[in-house]
Amino acid sequence: MRCYVKSTVLALALGMAMLLGGCATTAGNKDPMEGFNRTMFAFNEGLDAAIIRPVAKGYEFVAPAFVRTAVTNFFSNVADVFIAVNNLLQGKPVEAASDAGRFLVNSTVGIFGLLDVATEWGLEKHDEDFGQTFGRWGMDTGAYLFLPVFGPRDVRDGIGLVFDIAADPLVNINDMSVRNSLAALYIINNRAMLLPADKIIDEAALDKYSYLRDAYLQRRRSLVFDGRPPKDPEFE
């Protein structure tokens, strides 16, 4: 099983790398695969309406806020390990040390990460992943990509995602039922956080697909520069 997962991951990574080479975006068009992406988007919208959103609403109704906070903190704590690694890869040892400190504090004083004590102690939470690291290293985003289940990505972040998943300690849990339950909880908890945004996006978007695409690209650009992107000359 593990071997199968690893080879699938590798095949995916190779496929993405080929896409990146093949679709070195022609200037101006960041979404050359729009037809394919819109099909995947429609698929995801259907999946969301039929299963994920109703379950997330049920979860939000049943689980009190402090439970949802604990779940959010737990996944956030596990992620801090690889946020530290990515900060190190991006040449930010101070941030990396702070992330490692967060993990140590929250895993112990914070009871397996259920409480985020580190933030209260002044250790700031960072947002890093392999896609951002590749961006820091100068890799182009490549074409925009809408993946089933995972949602918006671009080719660079798609490759990053393969590494994120391979590196995630929770994915490497051997007991399949535990692993799958955690994955389901992760998806539902994340979806529940986005529930208030649904109506706002419907209100704002002329076309939901391109609204979400442009929001994704803006946000990722900002994250690569840690929230202080250089001003885009096109926007002045």
């Binding site: 906070t69 959010t72 956080m193 209100e203 391109s210 609204y211 442009d214 803006q218 946000r219 900002s222």
Partner: protein
């Protein structure tokens, strides 16, 4: 009586000057706290009464927004090709769209608390970003950043970014697409249709 009026006018003028002279961070903080204070007590808005939320936004928030500037940023290069009448129509429709979105967000407000980050600015600055962090129980915090510039009428908000996504420039590529398909009037038409269907949805609900 004459004396009283003079004092009153003097007072109004001073108040006006005070509002204009308010630093951008104090302005954002004051307006946000005022509005949330009202939403916290208003059961109708919490229950999703968009019309009431729009009234609140019109009274408290929108006087501090520069919609012409926002529209110019969202339309981008094509702005200069638009006639003054088209520019006015675009601004009106975009204003309606943003106000509806903002009001919808107000109806979704649930006990979030907001941290206002201190602004580092020089006295000569005319363009600043006020950063805030919205903490919500059960969820990750979300950054909301307000860009303001200094005008003759005081500091005005010309962009709002939620989680680093600008609500204004996020329209750029879809606006450009509409303009290349149907010209400026095509975009005005699309915005009208969108605003019209939102209006109809509100009417149906009430």
């Amino acid at each position: 009586m004459k004396h009283f009026l003079a004092v009153l006018f003097g007072l109004v003028a001073t108040l006006g000057a005070a509002a204009q002279g308010l630093a951008p961070d104090a302005l954002v903080k004051g307006v946000t706290n005022d509005v949330l204070e009202i939403v916290r007590k208003d059961k109708d808005i919490q229950a999703g009464n968009t019309r009431k939320a729009v009234e609140l936004a019109e009274a408290k928030v929108l006087p501090h927004f520069d919609f012409a500037h926002m529209t110019r940023l969202a339309v981008g290069k094509a702005w200069r090709q638009a006639s003054p009448a088209q520019q006015q129509a675009l601004t009106d429709e975009f204003r309606t769209l943003l106000v509806r979105t903002y009001s919808k967000a107000l109806t979704e407000y649930r006990n979030q608390t907001i941290d206002f980050k201190p602004v580092k600015m020089q006295p000569a600055d005319t363009d600043v970003v006020v950063r805030t962090l919205v903490q919500q129980p059960g969820s990750k915090p979300v950054e909301i950043d307000y860009s303001l510039d200094k005008t003759d009428q005081g500091w005005k908000v010309y962009d709002i970014a939620v989680a680093a996504v600008s609500l204004v420039t996020n329209y750029r590529s879809s606006f450009a697409q509409e303009i290349s398909a149907g010209g400026i009037d095509g975009l005005i038409g699309t915005l009208r249709t969108k605003n019209g269907s939102s209006e109809a949805a509100v009417a149906r609900k009430q």
